[in-house]
Amino acid sequence: MLFNSSIFALFFALFFPIYLIVRRNVFRRNILLTIASYAFYGWWDARFLILVAISTSVDYMAALGASGKPVRSLDRLKSGAYLAAVTAASLVFAPLRNLWLALLVVAGILAATVWMKLIDHAAPERRPRLWLYLSLCTNLGILAFFKYCNFFVASFAALFALFGIKIDSPTLSIILPVGLSFYTFQALSRTIDSYRGQFEPKYSIVNYAAYHAFFPQLVAGPIERARHLMPQFEAVRSLDARMFYSGTLLFLWGLYQKIVIADNVAPIADAVFSAPAAKASAATLAALLAFTLQIYCDFCGYSNMARGLARCLGFDLIVNFNLPYFSRTPSEFWRRWHISLSSWLRDYLYISLGGNRKGQTRMYGNLMITMLLGGLWHGAAWNFVIWGGWHGAIQVLYRVLRIDSLIERWPLRTARGVALQVGAWAVTLTLVVLGWVFFVAHTTSDTLAIFGNLFGGSGYPAHELWTVAEYATPLALVEIYQRGTGKVEVLNSGPFLVRYTAALTVLLTIIAFGARGGREFIYFDF
């Protein structure tokens, strides 16, 4: 179900009045949120609700165990019953041939039971670690199978082929469940935080299920941290007209980014990147700039819509994008782009690898590993790994040359300082834009063709460039205002009449210029 679809409008119109009735009772509210979230997700494919439920039931117990709390028989029973109920419900909506999923769940329950027996027989001090392993194996296992299985098999076959060994690599017909990378990472973070003592999980599977499947952010984030969002599911949330209005405006701004900007410039990018060979320079440049704008507005738009919806329900989600194209260094870019993922990678991967605590060389290595895996998170293909590598390499280069600290020292009060800062911004933006070539090109030949067309062609004036500029300019002006004033939510700041007129303008722009057809969000594929 897309936020920008009529079916979602109908879904929310039915859901919201019931929500208002039950919202003052935590238990009932969370039951409703869980059911609504599962309906939202199941609309796409009911079979994969089982994966959400597996992740929920395992991590409910794993977080308790990893925190050192006892995982009672009752909790195990609750987890098992929850998984069985969701499995049965999802199979009702899936054809009979998918019964194998039920068998898979039974096998999974048996495996988990054996594992839990092992935990029960282990020494008490080892148990938290074993619970953590259960969560890691389950979530990363689901991710590895559904997202990376074919990629690994094909890559191994290609590797052996380099040495002249031919292996038949059978590719499985595996569908990538929407939002898998998001909710598995969110589940993992809660269990890891519990293990590290940074979060104390509670004994309520209903609260946790509602948190885990919260529909505004289930399929494309932000990847929330339990210590920020989980307490909100354990208390009655205040909600008034002002909050609802503010959430609606935030949703509206996200919708504008998505259907006015991202979806309107997308055809310019598609026209070139679907077959990049032998395209003119102007068209390639326009396509690259269009994609730069598209991917930002598509994902940032989704995040804003998710935050707006959550606010309409009384919940607060973290800011996921903070004007990333205004960054002056690649490191700053990653502190502003997909903040929930980059902070996840920093906290659970980079720091776990040793971070910058084990010398400069190791730090550069850790940075590269983090960025390579971050790239791989985006998709099971080498182009994403290369894209991650590109960002890792430029960050390492900036650190080796100490450019980050140099830029921090340039004062903004002098003309020279301003010029240097603007120069640093222009260089970073260029590097980021060039990086999108690796992201969008799926083969090496496509990558080479795009770079070749970009720098080797002729004739730059192009109608498409003007079209991209038409969509980019209003956004750039708004973001300059945001950057200057520090007000991230532009529609929620200023006097009433200004806010109202701005919101009305955005609404009319959506109606008049919004692309039709309900294009899917790019990050759904991740």
């Binding site: 009529s6 079979r47 899936a94 007129t501 009319l508 109606i511 008049a512 039709r516």
Partner: protein, 394 residues
Amino acid sequence: LTSEDIATAAHLHVRGRAPQRARTALLRVLKILVLSTFTLLYAETFVRLLSPQSVVPRYVVGAPWGVRGNMPNARYWHHTPEVDVEYRINSEGLRADRDYPFLKPKGTCRIAVFGDSFTMGYELDIHDTFTTRLEQLLRERGWRADVLNFSVSGFGTAEMLRTYEAYARKFDPDVVMFSWHYSDVDDNVRSGLYRLHAGTLENANPTYLPGGKAQNYLLRSRLYRFVADNSQLYTLLRDRAVVFTKQMLVNLRQESHAPNIAAEADDAGGRDEDEEVRAAQKQANLDLSSAVVARAAQVVTMDGRDFYLIEIPTRISRIKFRSSVDVLSASVRANINIISPLAAFENAAQPDLKLYYELGHGHFTPAAAQLLAQEAVETLARSAHLSACASPLR
């Protein structure tokens, strides 16, 4: 203080607060009024400046035979960047300056034309429409013929057939022409009047009146008609709502006329299979339209009348056009008479000649209507039926 004092004080307090409450309420109402006026004025200005709309109100109401029809005796204007056109609907719901009696005058041949906004003559003065030009050309060739225009904007083949069966038959036409435009595929699914069951066409819903009652009610209001005739904001909102509703209806009706495809979609899942499912749905929609066209031809022919399908070509560019009838099944195309202006359009096409309007709603220009009428006359001249019914003018 006695209890009486307290009661008096409370009474005075309440009396004092009542006017204050009334004032607050009045202020609130005033604020809402001011804000609403500001919103409407601002929105209208925004649309006029940044997204100017062609104002094309549709005076379409529910007809007694269960589908839409032109509002009898309506008179309205369309304003686009290219034309300003007046529409006059007669008391029988036809775009014409006169009424036609059910009883056909002796020696006169009647041609009934069914179609959507193209044959209705949107963006064309009545003297430039296909039907008027056809009548003129026939008369110039010496045939006494009346061309009755039963077209209604938004019609698909299914609605044309219902109108023919329930209403137009009374006018006793000798020749019946249905137009065919690529949008008819979706229109036929959306109307839900027919469905295919195991390859056989069945009647489905008895009526198709989208917003019928509301539209009938609204069109009686002078204020509504003023807004519909003049507001670009209203036009924009209505157009977006129509697109949205049309797509919703296609999706819903798809389920009823091709349920197996939906089941297969559930079975397959995933995005790779979506393409195949969409292709299968498209084919099912085309099959439905082919069957409805075949049914129309059969019904008209069984009434002893000639049936023709008028092709409305799809515009690719000013000089390039595509056939729209080639989506119909080969067997249907082989068994019906098709009047196609495609070749005439391609021959006439020039970079400085518009055959379709380009800034308004993309309908025929007078040149295109004339070419289509010429093509139709050439075909009708070969019709034995027409020769038998019409007496050459002296």
